[in-house]
């Protein structure tokens, strides 16, 4: 993002977590409230990134392992003659999906609670900041009119 910009910038989705990273603008006249908001958003971003990157990586890895073990059981290799990767059809993969979901169930519950809390807090702080800014602007208007 350009140096002179006064707003936040959002980027393309991350390769591992699929989340879009945000670069936050730090105003030189940042109030305590605004700093709280920015830090909350940064923390949430970091926490989300950690969770999803790890989760997706685990998914990919376990999926590979599953395919490998199933193919082995069937007596096939990972790649066939033409060099293409051998795959299992949807029905065979269904067992893996079911397993993976139940294994990570507790993780997701924990993450959900965490995410909802953060989301509400951030939105509430945003509301407070917006209110303060609006009041400030009204006061400035009043002063200018006089």
């Amino acid at each position: 993002p350009p140096a002179h910009s006064h707003s936040d910038w959002i980027g393309p989705p991350d390769k591992h977590s699929n989340l879009r990273p945000v670069i936050f603008y730090v105003s030189p006249e940042e109030s305590a409230l605004e700093r709280q908001l920015r830090e909350a958003r940064q923390e949430a971003q970091a926490s989300n990134q950690r969770f999803w990157a790890r989760h997706n990586r685990a998914f990919r890895q376990e999926k590979e392992e599953f395919i490998y073990s199933r193919l082995k059981a069937k007596g096939l290799e990972m790649r066939d003659e033409s060099g293409q990767k051998a795959t299992l059809n949807a029905e065979e993969m269904a067992d893996f999906y079911k397993d993976f979901l139940s294994k990570n169930f507790k993780n997701h519950l924990q993450y959900n609670r965490d995410w909802y809390k953060r989301n509400f807090r951030i939105t509430f702080l945003m509301g407070q900041v917006a209110l303060v800014r609006a009041l400030r602007w009204l006061r400035w208007r009043k002063k200018n009119v006089e």
Binding site: P1, S5, S7, D8, W9, I10, G11, P12, P13, K15, S17, N18, L19, R20, V22, I23, N48, W52, H55, N56, F59, R60, E64, Q84, K85, T87, L88, A90, E91, M93, A94, F96, Y97, K98, F100, L101, S102, N104, F105, N107, H108, L109, Y111, N112, W115, Y116, N119, I122, T123, M126, G127, A130
Partner: protein, 440 residues
């Protein structure tokens, strides 16, 4: 033949009613036209063969807001055939074609990376300033509120309104539609507000406004409040308190029950089915002011319909659900998934039989609707037995045209108010109460 008989029997009084209906249908055509457009050609040709010229606001297929998943996928599947009109259900935004979806799915299965990068445009890979542009706002809000899904929900409500055994009242109809539409926008916005990181991880939903940072969460919540509060107010004050209460309850059910439940237990599907069943009930109560057996029947039909529709759709999305952490029957209880779908296909048949008993339709309704009900039950059985991708797809696509057809047939077989008066037989005094409760 059926039609002619009806016209002969209806008195002069009915004609303006029909005319108004036609007028309304013309307006609704805008919405339904899009719907027609994106449905498979099969449905469109059937429509042409249809005798009923009556303008009945066609309710769309499952448009329950919570069934975004289906919607989006459904969109994708049919989009490549016709204009890119996405169903109201979900982010009706840019959708990839069905072929692309298939490619993506196979790619996901074969490749290491779970995210198919091919679908993203160059634009997406750039860094964007998080500044709200006013000229983008309407489009962003439309996507936030899942406007197409909302339109489908509103047409479901109109179906409920149309089936109510009372003379048609224009202002009431418009207010009910407006209120329901606003309530649906609010519910959809809150849903997206809650689901940002999960939406980012699923292909169907990763282009939503909040995910892309086009709008702040604060604005999303403010928008939801500014739609929801006036919406419920319109329903409570402009229509009747019962409809308002139902609307508020539905918003609550969708945002506070269904959305969190999606990640906790498979019970979310049943809750979601109720959310989809309430709009037609709201349409009925808007017209009559009371909760009759007819309203519940209509709600019941929509409730039952959700299951073959959603279960068949979710069969193909198991990977995304598993990775995203969504608890869906198709992943955790596949046998139950198929059983429930079949069960509810049969229930639809049963409910169609009940309609004439409750004096909502004539006895021609179960007879005329029998072929389509049998067909969907047959597909439901095939899905139950085969449990593979092709049978799930067949069932899903059937459900898309089955519901509008069923509701259309139901409307054409509707027992007219005059008939009932002639017979001197007012079921449960519902008509009388309807007359008494004159809506403003």
């Amino acid at each position: 033949g059926l039609f002619v008989w009806r016209l002969r029997n209806t008195g002069i009084r009915q004609i303006p009613y029909r005319f108004v209906h036609l007028y309304h249908v013309a307006n609704n055509r805008l919405i339904t036209f899009q719907y027609f457009n994106f449905l498979k050609r099969m449905y469109v040709t059937q429509c042409n063969k249809d005798l009923s010229q009556q303008a009945k606001p066609k309710s769309d297929s499952i448009v329950s807001p919570f069934h975004e998943l289906q919607q989006l996928d459904q969109e994708k599947k049919v989009v490549h055939k016709i204009s890119p009109v996405s169903p109201v259900h979900q982010s009706w935004s840019e959708t990839s074609s069905r072929n692309e979806l298939r490619e993506i799915k196979s790619a996901a299965e074969t490749e290491d990376s779970v995210i198919p990068v091919g679908a993203e445009s160059r634009e997406d890979r750039q860094w964007k300033e998080m500044k709200l542009r006013l000229d983008d706002l309407p489009g962003i809000l439309a996507r936030l509120s899942k406007i197409k899904l909302t339109a489908l929900v509103v047409s479901t409500t109109s179906a409920g309104f149309a089936m109510a055994p009372v003379p048609f009242e224009l202002t009431c109809f418009l207010l009910a539609s407006l209120g329901t539409g606003l309530a649906s926008c609010a519910a959809n916005s809150i849903n997206q507000f809650f689901e940002v990181p999960f939406d980012s991880n699923m292909n169907r939903t990763k282009n939503r406004p909040l995910v892309r940072g086009q709008i702040s969460p604060l604005l999303a919540v403010c928008f939801a409040l500014s739609c929801g509060i006036p919406g419920i107010a319109v329903l409570t004050l402009g229509v009747n308190p019962l409809t308002g209460a139902l609307g508020a309850f539905n918003i609550f059910l969708y945002t506070c029950c269904y959305t969190p439940l999606k990640r906790m237990s498979i019970a979310n599907t049943w809750v979601g089915a109720v959310v989809g069943a309430i709009p037609p009930i709201m349409g009925w109560t808007a017209a009559t002011g009371s909760l009759d057996a007819g309203a519940l029947l209509l709600g019941g039909i929509l409730y039952s319909w959700q299951f073959p529709h959603f279960n068949a759709l979710s069969w193909g999305l198991r990977e995304d659900y598993s990775r995203g952490g969504y608890c869906m029957m198709s992943v955790t209880h596949p046998g139950l998934c198929r059983r429930v779908a079949l069960r509810h296909c049969l229930a639809l048949m049963g409910l169609s039989m009940v309609a004439p008993v409750l004096d909502i339709t004539t006895w021609t309704f179960p007879i005329v609707s029998l072929p389509i009900n049998l067909y969907i039950s047959y597909l439901g059985f095939r899905f139950y037995r085969d449990a593979d991708r092709s049978s799930s797809r067949k069932l899903f696509f059937c459900s898309l045209w089955h519901l509008p057809m069923l509701l259309l047939v139901m409307f054409t077989c509707k027992k007219s108010v005059l008939e009932k008066e002639d017979q001197g037989d007012l079921p449960g005094g519902s008509n009388e109460t309807a007359m008494e409760i004159r809506l403003p």
